[in-house]
């Protein structure tokens, strides 16, 4: 099928077309990574990989310029440590937004293995509840290999879901840390989920994810220690001077408790974003980051594919104390000309 037709079908909200376009994004990340790792790859693979990048490029051009939507999708990021109930919370939000009549896209970004490409299926299985609802698109995207991959793949996947007519897109990232902070920058509203106990508030503070939170959720609020965690969070968020102080919502996502409070907090943040001009600022930053990430990925792939031998030779010379890393980097950059 040609790309224009695929994009047309995605615009009509056809799930298979949406899935195929997001696969195109995923494969491009993987191809770029393989090329960067392996240096100059076999001719056949390279031809297939070039064709797939070309298709993605065409699809993005078509999606980005062919008829903008009147209103951009609302992107909500959900993140937190393993075990706090991110998928259950995502499920609760899907139901809450569906009750309002919004169409919902979900992008679950799995930090799956960079080596085997494997991802455990538990989280996906739980999403099957919504498999027959035509107003819900769920796609899991693995972030294989290089960290930069997510930075350019995620906005492209968001663009596909937006074109498919999603009013709300939930981006779920597993784990805590730097990658999640980067993803958070892509969302309009970032929800950080914690569970009572486990010194989770302190861990979140250490990992730097409290500062990216627009809304804080303490899930599993039927457990002991929920008030301590809320108090801890209130103290920590109280320290920061900011025009928006993240509200703290308690939920029991497995029972759907707190869904309305969470929705109200999300709406309040959305209103703040629009009134303060922050919404546009975030969208611009996202566009800027996406362009930069694509440019850097292209340059990285040129280093590997066109200049892999030079890079190997420079690495040998660096190990042999015949050059230093900055001089070697200059040499590599000079190869771009």
């Amino acid at each position: 099928m040609d790309v224009r037709e695929l994009v047309g079908q995605a615009r009509q909200g056809r799930p298979r077309a949406v899935a195929r376009l997001i696969s195109l994004v995923e494969n491009a990340v993987e191809n770029a990574e393989n090329a960067a790792q392996a240096g100059v790859s076999a001719g056949g693979d390279r031809a297939a990989s070039a064709a797939s990048s070309r298709a993605l490029r065409e699809a993005m051009a078509e999606l980005a310029t062919g008829g903008a939507r009147p209103r951009p999708a609302r992107v909500i990021g959900l993140t937190g440590s393993p075990g706090v109930g991110k998928s259950t919370s995502t499920g609760m939000l899907i139901r809450a937004f569906r009750r309002r009549g919004s169409t919902v896209g979900v992008l679950a970004v799995d930090p799956s293995s960079p080596f085997t490409g494997g991802a455990l299926l538990g989280d996906r299985v739980r999403m099957q509840d919504h498999a027959t609802d035509p107003g819900v698109f769920i796609r899991s995207m693995s972030s294989r290999g290089h960290l930069g991959g997510l930075a350019w793949a995620t906005p492209q996947a968001l663009r596909v879901l937006e074109a498919a007519g999603c009013d709300v897109i939930l981006v779920e990232t597993v784990g805590v840390g730097q990658a999640e902070v980067e993803i958070a920058r892509l969302a309009d509203t970032t929800v950080v989920i914690l569970a009572p106990g486990m010194g989770d508030g302190v861990q979140a503070a250490k990992a730097g994810i409290l500062e990216v939170a627009d809304v804080l959720v303490v899930n599993k609020a039927d457990r002991d220690g929920v008030q301590t965690t809320v108090r801890e969070l209130r103290n920590m968020t109280g320290l920061v001077e900011t025009p928006w102080r993240p509200p703290i919502v308690t939920t029991v996502a497995s029972k759907g408790e707190g869904a309305d409070d969470l929705l109200a907090a999300l709406d309040k943040h959305q209103a703040y974003l629009e009134e303060s001009g922050e919404a546009r600022r975030r969208r611009l930053a996202r566009a800027r980051d996406e362009i930069e990430a694509i440019a850097l990925a292209q340059l990285r792939s040129r280093f590997a594919v066109l200049h892999g031998d030079r890079l190997d030779a420079l690495a040998e010379r660096l190990l042999g104390a015949e050059t230093d890393p900055y001089a070697a980097a200059d040499d590599l950059i000079a190869a771009l000309r």
Copy 2:
């Protein structure tokens, strides 16, 4: 003090010179990040930042080419989820290597906040036990901002510790996820630490860190469930076809139990690395990654500092559906010429 003198003092193992050189690396990451975030920064800042990058560049040239060491330092990465006892295990390994007479460097990579630059001090405080031992260098490095930062800062910090005469360098990364996988690629031997229970094995598999493990440690082995975790891990590592099957070591790091077993596993892996030629292959890959990461960081900084206005304009056009992300990236790359 001039850079050559500073490097000379670091080579003599003077702790202050080592600390100052690693600060130079850290500041360079931060300056690069600030420049990338803020676009063209104020003239004064820019001048200071340029001077500090120049000093780092000079230091690395001096360190990389001025007199190679007869034998490279052995780099051991330690990673795992929060709470499994990474710092305690690091402490146990410091003592074990010191008993052998090896000098030990420790680089604790904190995923500290990208916004406030703050890091909690708990882990550092625990390291104070070794503060008066001249055979131990401990330095904590925060990985502010962009993920790429760690990729070029860590090898440079390792180079400083190596020049200071460290026989062994322990790199401790907090958290699990993609950043840790990248750091693991920098080590000769990567130790993944888990604790019994909490489905930690499954979480580690999900986060893709099992595949990077050369040695697996189940710490807190005096707790319930240790045999279940060991069995779980044995099943999972048994699935992979590989010339090196990661041994599973149980420890109680807080009591120093299992130190000898861990050391034996590390030595066995070191012997495997040397015999198989994998040692040199990893060092070459590390050199290659460092050069590439520096080149990409330089290009990213050029985008921000020299072409920030163009990037802003492209982002506006992308939001306005007047361009697509790939065309915009091409335009940005063309600005490099």
